[in-house]
Subunit: 333 residues, 2 copies
């Protein structure tokens, strides 16, 4: 719990500056309706994990906070854009405890709000020039961020495709979560390292650190859905099973189980309602799939931390990045 | 008709190279469904006016075709992205004579396909480095393109807002079509001039040329809807009136007409069906609004051409740009 509190403090440290950059990016959006729809979800909170990673990565390689703030804001805008569009696609009506953008403004305006955040994100990275960042650093940082956007789209398309399949291989699942979740986190840490003037070795290691904690973040989500409590999750245990989602636990159990258990698990996943959630969890437990997911997340985090220790000198920023890696596993939801 | 044929030839000249760049940008998109949804509308044709303007603008200031091809492809990708999302928002089921992307793949995949084209557009501009374009030219070209994307979103939001209003002023209408249509065309010619190494004066003039022909393009569309024939339009005369759209003709007539004519025109615009289209056209005619729209488009095109003659030496590319300006008015649909 202690490191969780500390991480919350770390993330808060840059929040005000990041928020200011986001506000600057969005305050000129016109007409009013589009501006409101665009900044609704940004203002609804969020941990600001991704922008903090940009700034900390820049600091960890010896760069200035200032050089990375706009790109940090941009990464948060991209994250928010993808949430708004995902909520339309998945017909999710709530986000961050508030009604989704499409619930409040309708789907057309929500599509546009996402597109606006997306456009503003790239414009914001380019404005780093105003903060004294050299064009030869802006271009590769922007390249990194743009490449991750293609991956986010591909990841969401893969995830949508999984809904109709029962034969998803673990490798495919890992590719999906890499693209959908980890790629943007890797872009955050890589872009930060570039903007902070890191060596190629540092840039590569921070990129990989971001990818690994991003993977662990999603896998831990999968794990907690069955291994945590309703109090900690803020939703019933086994919600993923009720929704019939492909998770690392499910994919792993399906690959190892007897024909009979496999059929039974698939049947439960297809069912509406939570009547047989416990039985599905027993099948996953029987094949060690719950522990397996926990283990994969642990290993990813350990590897992420080792990489940092190899290429970075000791500093408060490195310390913060190490704590964030642990935090990914200590979250209760 | 002759210049129309010539312009078709001009646009064809770069088509193959542009298509190749677009294919390169999209061929790696994965999974297959997302790639197919993303390139459906690109492959459905289109005049390739915008990418040709990028290339011709580069050439007109003395630059190489090669330097502008990727940004040309990017501008076409952005245009296509906006069509795909607009078709979802407006529930249009056909585009370029084929079913819209959301009709074929569903709305979620269509949203994603648009997002993918959008991401790939920026990535493609940045890849201009592979064609030997200097980073100090890529950044401002990219800035230009990104800024126009924010405007496209704002223009669409303004247009959506007009649907509920009866008091749209001419100035607001012009701002809407500038953002929704002309801004991307201005970005095409400006980015081309930047990539071709134009002087600041040339860049500014080509940007303004693009804006003016973009405005004329939309206003001419408004004009032809009532002044052309069903054969030339490929749809019934007065379709905009049936749809109740705010056009320059409507906005102008509403601002000049008697209280009685104003009420009548508004009533007809709100009606379903085409019963009173002729009467609406008579009201517009009575206040000179049809001729007015024609005149505004003419003046925009004339001014656009004058600007080119002021800053560009004679060349085949300048000649082509002048012809394209005329072509905007000679289109029959």
């Amino acid at each position: 719990m202690e490191s969780k509190l500390e991480v919350t403090e770390i993330l808060k440290r840059y929040s005000a500056d990041i928020d200011q950059e986001i506000n600057r990016a969005l305050e000129t959006v016109d007409p009013d309706t589009l501006r409101q729809a665009s900044d609704h979800l940004v203002k609804a909170g969020g941990k600001k994990l991704r922008p903090s990673l940009v700034v900390l990565s820049a600091e960890a390689v010896g760069g200035e906070v200032e050089s990375a703030l706009k790109t940090g804001a941009a990464v948060e805008l991209i994250h928010t854009f993808s949430l708004i569009h995902d909520d339309i696609m998945d017909q999710d009506e709530k986000r961050r405890g508030k009604p989704s953008v499409h619930v409040l403004w309708g789907e057309p305006m929500a599509i546009l709000a996402g597109d606006t955040l997306f456009s503003k994100a790239f414009a914001t990275v380019m404005k780093s020039e105003d903060d004294g960042v050299a064009p030869e650093n802006i271009l590769p940082a922007l390249h990194t961020v743009v490449d991750s956007c293609v991956k986010i789209c591909e990841g969401q398309a893969l995830d949508m495709g999984f809904a109709e399949r029962t034969d998803v291989r673990e490798e495919e699942y890992l590719t999906m979560i890499y693209k959908k979740t980890a790629a943007l986190i890797a872009a955050a840490t890589k872009a930060g390292a570039i903007l902070g003037g890191g060596t190629p070795e540092q840039v590569e290691a921070l990129s990989e650190y971001g990818r690994l904690i991003g993977m662990a973040f999603q896998i831990q989500d999968d794990y907690l859905d069955v291994a945590s409590s309703e109090d900690d999750l803020g939703k019933p245990v086994g919600s993923d099973i009720v929704e019939g989602k492909m998770t690392l636990l499910v994919v792993n159990a399906l690959s190892k189980s007897s024909a009979e258990d496999r059929e039974r698990l698939l049947t439960i996943l297809k069912e509406d309602g939570d009547e047989h959630v416990g039985e599905a969890m027993e099948i996953m437990e029987k094949y060690g799939s719950i522990h397996y997911a926990w283990q994969v997340a642990q290993e990813d985090v350990n590897q992420a931390k080792e990489l940092l220790l190899e290429v970075l000198d000791e500093s408060p920023a490195r310390d913060a990045l190490l704590k964030i890696a642990d935090f990914v596993l200590e979250r209760s939801h």
